[in-house]
Symmetry: D2
Subunit: 364 residues, 4 copies
């Protein structure tokens, strides 16, 4: 039951990296939203392998087919099923590690949980699983643009290993982000990052980093305390992505060394509406959006797949070594950018519909 996400705008993803394909069913999408396969393909192309020299060279066109829920270019209100076939699967490459647990992969834990696993590639734990999320996130963004004309979600790489970019979250655009292969809108930092990723790959190693995401143009009032607070949902959404290790909103862990008198965001009336003078809250107070930009960050570990010999054990518990083959990313962050945006859009879309449900207006 862990393969569904959202309450009202509810997605269910399915699929392994090797097998018939991967996909998603979206249940609860409002009717009469204009939607085409191109809307989905645009986002899938941003996460697909082989799009640049710094990502995995697995060659997957990742063509999305809409199987249901859309008629004459508009959503029907019925479930939208989207299918992407696996094409460049290479199960043979994995035969030699069928009984070996790759360090910091999910091989051992899937075996422990299910007593069986698809050893051809990452199986369900592969990042290919995120195709369904990105496809559904594209639909969520269309719904959100209908609900909030100024809605935007923009994620970007702010850090790769020790290279830290300087980015103004209030101004950065998606065009800025997509201008380079590493998806870091600080061009100077981006260059160093790309060089680093290239070096690391040649060394058979990998690196991690941080992605920041900003959501703009929302109304105050989104988020459903006490458990489905907006930051709680965003944290769950993004920490369910592969390779993530941490989440923080607004001031985040930096808040731990501030005093209340510094950290409190003071209210003022600006441009005729309620605003705060600072945004340490990251756009969320008491678990509910306050109309400021929502800003959060996600930390990613270095890719577990490295081209170096490592100590490990077989499924029988015997010591052995492994030098994992298979194509992989030396740094997952560039391709994770659209994943983070998708998860953010899914959370917000679900909360926006939930808020509509209880807002009866001043009808008395």
């Amino acid at each position: 039951m862990g393969n569904s996400f959202g309450q009202l705008f509810r997605i269910t993803t399915w699929g392994e990296s090797h097998g018939g394909g991967v996909g998603v069913v979206i249940d609860g999408c409002p009717p009469r939203i204009e939607l085409s396969e191109a809307d989905i393909q645009r986002e899938l192309d941003r996460r697909r392998p082989g799009q640049s020299s710094i990502v995995t060279q697995r060659n997957e066109p990742d063509h999305a087919e809409i199987l249901s829920g859309v008629f004459e270019g508009q959503t029907l209100g019925t479930p939208i099923a989207i299918l992407v076939r696996n094409q460049d699967a290479d199960p043979e490459a994995y035969k030699k590690i069928v009984n070996i647990f790759r360090p910091s992969h999910a091989d051992y834990t899937y075996e422990a949980k299910y007593g069986i696993r698809n050893w051809q590639g990452g199986g369900r734990a592969s990042a290919r699983e995120t195709i369904g999320r990105v496809a559904a996130g594209a639909v969520a963004q269309l719904v959100l643009r209908r609900l909030f004309p100024a809605f935007e979600v923009v994620a970007y790489v702010t850090q790769v290993h020790e290279v830290i970019a300087k980015i103004d979250s209030q101004r950065v655009t998606r065009a800025d982000v997509d201008r380079n292969a590493v998806r870091c809108p600080d061009e100077a930092a981006a260059k160093i990052m790309m060089q680093l990723i290239d070096d690391v790959r040649r060394e058979g190693d990998s690196v991690g980093g941080t992605i920041e995401c900003v959501i703009r143009g929302l109304d105050a009032g989104l988020g459903d305390p006490v458990f489905d607070k907006l930051e709680a949902e965003l944290a769950k959404a993004t920490l369910s992505l592969p390779a993530t290790k941490g989440f923080e909103i607004g001031s985040g862990f930096a808040a731990t060394v501030m005093r209340g008198s510094e950290h409190n965001d003071l209210f003022e009336t600006r441009d005729g509406r309620v605003r705060t003078t600072t945004n340490f809250s990251g756009g969320v107070q008491g678990g509910i959006s306050n109309g400021e930009d929502i800003v959060f960050r996600v930390g990613f570990k270095p890719t577990s797949t490295i081209a170096r010999e490592q100590q490990t054990i077989t499924s029988a518990g015997e010591e052995t070594t492994i030098e994992p083959g298979g194509r992989h990313d030396p740094c997952v962050l560039p391709r994770a950018v659209p994943m983070v945006e998708a998860m953010a859009a899914l959370v917000i879309c679900d909360q926006a519909l939930r808020q509509r449900a209880i807002s009866l207006g001043a009808e008395q």
Copy 2:
């Protein structure tokens, strides 16, 4: 609908800081677990106000009454309803700020979401809401001890503002934690922290910090990919607590500056079972527990309530100033320790029951 948490071990909390009381209904607790009001009271006493000089002096006995679901000292398998009456409520103290939005509180966002709010104290956004969580967490811990005899969850304060403690997560016990009022098992650091909190309170200010939590004694196999991964659930659980700004598991954000060759946890066979030589994964791989200690950290902001004049606006949008009254904690961390443990236990208990459901055992 955001007031329920968990799928199989499912809790629903209710209540405002001022009103009839607060409480919780636990649905899905297995039958025949020994349970008494004392089991619950023990945990509530660790989070209740007035327990030491460094926490709020609101005087609430927080006596828990079990209304249903328990018979002759054992759970029935039916819903367990627990009620705690509000006693030392002081609505008059809030009358002067009925139309004023306190900075970085939830006053404005509740107003924006619901068009109404209980202005007496924090209402639903008060930390009193966590009573139901802590009560339910006490029950979850009893279930977990039945399922995993070596189960333990221990949270502790590792940092208050810039004071950082040194604590060995593998050895720390709950007795160590409860030895001092700040719940930091590094006695030297604890003393400085307590002095700092005392100073800060006298200055009318507040501080934040970090809580670490370790979960021991679990089997491998808990967690439900792809969305209900263990770290994702823990992140949601803890970031739904008041005043939280960040979550990280295992290496956390420190992973972003490591290389894969450093970060990968190598497998070995130790004491006859699968172990890792390091635990940067924090006990979770691919969203599933691997049998190592689960270790995560939560960052808390400085309390929003401070005894200093601050600029803000009225609900009509007019500029004003506020010096919030009401009793409050200059640092929420000591009382947040049992909250973090409770949320961790709720997540693990839910996942443990989910894992039982799909484990059919050896093929017949």
Copy 3:
């Protein structure tokens, strides 16, 4: 987890017939609905024991206390917790049957499921459990009257054993229903029913019957195919009430002996809106309301508790006989009328909020 009902307007009931009490938590009630304890008490008084000579004489005032979620006479949007204490509990009366399974009661199945049961009265299987439903149903009706000014739900007894009433579902009012103790608005039939129930009680026996329910004043468009069709939800809702054995909507089982050419409801335009010339559909087509009255019926078995010696077994499997004591209803139908109305209101309210969530309007 089976103690919650509804997705958006979600209730969780708790409590046993003997113990601290019974109650309900309503999560998802829209804010700013006017609500008082009197609104709830009115409905509880219609289902409480001892209200007339033909129902159980257990003396329970069933006073409802609202513990949370309401402030200054309006709902807050936060969970509404309602508590009713048990008062006239009589556990001693049950001591003699602590190890005996009463025929057609839930004693044996609760024992089989949970390995434990509260043998004092019906425990969780008691009809007292429906107090929470009726209380929540009262709130749902207030929400529905806000959403649909002409909304009405009226249930009534149409049959007791072989006595069948003649009632015009299009005209019957709640005042008609409450005019007599058996809640059958056909006064001539009602008299015979009451005499029959009285006779049956004196004979130590019991009877069942049928309740019909009509819902008026709704818009077309409520119901959520393909699983949460309106009739499916109404069937689940009512067949979760104690003593129910069957459900039918519109033509119901009578449809099985009709031809399509007779059964089809022809469309016409009447009073400026889409209407059907007949209503064999019972107001629901394809699982969605069509704007006609929703009409359904629920069949109830004769009460299992009878004052006659019956063969049965002990929990050890030994044969014995039983003559159940305890106070009970010789016919549950009069008190079940408000229960059916409550369940209907809960289903419709949930679906109405769900429909609001996806109706984005013609904003393009």
Copy 4:
């Protein structure tokens, strides 16, 4: 969100009658269940059109492709996605009724709910939607046979219009049922039914009837009071099927004319286990299975599609007449038999997993 069913064994169906196809995702299927496409195809072949002269002649092979969740002939514990392409779709046939509401179809209500509909065939309201249910039901039956070696679910036609069959629910087998095209194991009645259906079709009319279903071989203890009682779940499951109007369990509506002294099922010890001497309860007491056969009945209306001119209106509200084309069944019951079995299996499988989750076994 209404396109998912089940809590632990959770299915999500998608697809319209005309478009890319129909399918289902099963989330929560236990791992290591042997499963092949043939297991699914066998059930689909029993519900597919064109299988005999008395059902619709639409020619659909309904070939099932398993896209994920199965590896080397066993389930992985990950989502199982199943796809069936639409082939013999005939949208042109529907062009003439694009703006006309067919009587007692879902055309008007879908339009009212969503403001849009796929007018090509029944769209989402088509019986093709049940393909996903039947496919998932096949998987559920495999899981149930693993959990309960003697598990069997057998549905059969007991009535078509006024022709009533005599069938012993305790002995009937699936082989008996599939022996004739109408799926009525009383051969004499079956012959009359088939003749009737043939006559009715030639007259351009349609008929309904009743299906009974028996579930054997279960343990006592399944069902989750108070809302997810077994009969409540079975009622919802079956009344979410197209063309259903009523549900009853055990004695059903006949209970309304019995006395408690007749209706109570007396307990006895038989063959070393708890049994009842009669089974008016239909195998369920207090919402929980008692180990007897579970027996329920579902009433179906005559098919709405008839080849006769009928009065109706256009979407603009103008009066018109219609003589619906399209291929259809003059009586849905023969093909509904596997649908009822599938829904029964889905309910029981879900409840069986839920019961496993809370059964912790003997106290340690």
